[in-house]
Amino acid sequence: MTTALETVAGEITGGLTLTVREARLLCPGIRHIVLADPAGRPLPSFTPGSHITVNWAEGRHNSYSLTGPSIEPDHYAISVRLDENGRGGSRWIHDLQPGQMIRASRPRSAFAPVLTARHHLLIAGGIGVTPILSHVRAALEWGRSFDVIYSFREQCGAHADELAALCGDRMITVSTPGELADRLIPALADQPLGTHVYTCGPAPMIAAVAAWARDCGWPPGRVHSEAFGAGPLADGAPFAAKLGRSGMIVPVPSGTSLLEALLDRGIKVPNLCRQGVCGECRLSVRGGEIEHRDLFLTAEEKAAGESMMPCVSRSAGDRLELDL
């Protein structure tokens, strides 16, 4: 998958500034970009199947899987298919020139290999080959058992030669959904117990692989597909917090947490993790509807609406009244 996560507003926090070292067309419509640290320092290591989120316009982000080496690498590589119907992120990537600087998140993993798997069946569809490539690199590095089926239209096999060289006879290629079914269904019916299947490609293909696996008796936990969206919390809409005891009104802009807004005003709120888990910053709420985003409060407490964790949770409306 190339573009799935797009947050609406705000900056990437704790991100990286990278320079475009190389840009070239892999095949019609698919461009390969090599990114590096401007000072030549090594970049953070990443888990196979990881992606970075690239900031392509004010408040606009797209996620792309990393295809290159993964241990303190000297570069990140992404391959991006031009989506003429998209919002412009892939077009922006396709216009990048060597020497340009970009902002990106640190790598995140949403599609890691299961390390206890006895065998890995990797299914790539089109540009969905990108995370599969990094799975293959890691599998070879650690001697893991795997097979690859790569489905692509003629002349659109990004990384096909590179993958074939890595995989040898462990890879087969197909070019239509029918061919994929002909090769994959028998394979799904005949895998060692403890095999995990990983699919990355167009949504209909992911759904088809999942359905075939189910029909062959696979437990759902053994079937994985690329699912972005496990990134940071959305910035949320702006709102105002009224402090019930003093009457003070504290505005909370989008992208700022209620906790930060209170602390900025000099209002002391004890806090620790700022992730919605430790419970330290819990506040009593007198009025207004809460959008709970924490892991601390129980479902009953959230439903009661009498307290909230201001480090992550927000107002569901434009005003909240706090017992402060």
Binding site: P44, T47, W142
Partner: protein, 332 residues
């Protein structure tokens, strides 16, 4: 460093674990890598803590591991995580102790230098033939922390590798391969309050490279670092001899034991690394800081029976409190 300096330094660097007069289990995690002030000094400016006891504790670990190699465990699927942990620890040491530790890339290999031990070594990541020992054994021989690695799969964390020589009343060899929730099954009071579920969710959401920390504590007799289940026959009776012995000895025999636990998401393997660093301070030194002596008394006095039982301090807390009443700054 003279003995007095060493004692003053130990007190100044001690991570006193009680922010209030009452202690209960909580998901007490906070971002790592910053210094926390105490009334006697500060602690926590680094993720790995090298102090005056480096050589002694390292030798103690080596002795324990030689007697009982089962203190190191690495299930086969955790080999990449063990390498990842080793490299991450080397990188952290090189960043936090640049005067004595160096990690550099040399072609396909890595160059590692530890001046404190006179180690200079080149290895290839993932190639065991290039390392004098297994990766966790190699790096744990150069730090004072115990290490546990958790694999994340099937929506759960699993304690599948580690090297633990300074366990406080538990056994890593027994726990290895269990899920995080199973490992914490016996802890009293934490289930009704969802503490472990919350901690579990928190750990599973840690991003690559992120690090958090928390403290835990117990009481230990005679300053033994290894009070694991395996050696219970050797140290179990110490609790009784302390309780039955003269009160005067308690100040020097009974230790407040704080664990500083760092929780770090490894970037390459995706495993969660637990670093457990053990600090021991005799009650006499605790009481030399008046606020600490009183606070420790209050906490021990208030601690519910089931928690004291689980921490293994039901025999020792009473004599500890009696000693603090005489020598600590306690007003009843």
């Amino acid at each position: 460093m003279t003995t007095t300096d060493s004692r003053a330094d130990r007190i100044a660097r001690f991570p006193f674990p009680f922010p209030r007069d009452q202690y209960r289990y909580s998901t007490n995690v906070e971002p790592a890598g910053h210094s926390t002030d105490t009334v006697a000094g500060s602690w926590g400016d680094t993720r790995i803590a090298i102090d005056a006891h480096y050589h002694r504790e390292r030798a103690e670990r080596e002795r324990i591991l030689a007697e009982d190699p089962s203190r190191h465990q690495c299930l086969p699927h955790m080999v990449p995580a063990a390498w990842d942990a080793m490299l991450t620890l080397m990188r952290t040491l090189a960043d936090e102790y640049p005067d004595t530790m160096t990690l550099a890339r040399r072609g396909v290999g890595w160059y590692w230098k530890n001046d404190l031990l006179g180690i200079e070594h080149t290895f290839v990541f993932g190639d065991l033939d290039t390392l004098p020992a297994q990766p966790l054994v190699y790096i744990c021989g150069q730090i004072q922390e115990d290490v546990v690695l958790l694999d994340q799969r099937e929506g759960e964390l699993w304690g599948d590798a580690g090297l633990v020589t300074f366990a406080a009343d538990w056994s890593f060899g027994f726990d290895v391969g269990m899920s995080f929730l199973e490992i914490h099954g016996p802890v009293p009071r934490i289930h009704s309050e969802n503490i472990i579920t919350r901690a579990h969710n928190f750990l599973m959401r840690l991003e690559p490279g992120q690090s958090y920390r928390r403290t835990n504590w117990t009481l230990t007799v005679d300053g033994k670092l290894d009070t694991s289940t395996e050696t219970y026959p050797e140290w179990g009776k110490d609790r009784r001899t302390l309780a039955d012995g003269p009160l005067d000895e308690v100040g020097d025999r009974l230790f407040l034991r704080t664990e500083v636990q760092h929780l770090i998401r490894l970037a390459h393997s995706g495993a969660v690394m637990f670093l457990i660093r053990t600090y021991l301070l005799p009650f006499r030194d605790v009481a030399s800081v008046p606020e600490w002596g009183e606070r420790l008394y209050r906490v021990l006095e208030d601690l519910p029976v089931d928690m004291a039982e689980y921490k293994g301090i039901s025999r020792t807390r009473e004599p500890g409190m009696r000693w603090l009443l005489t020598h600590g700054n306690v007003e009843l």
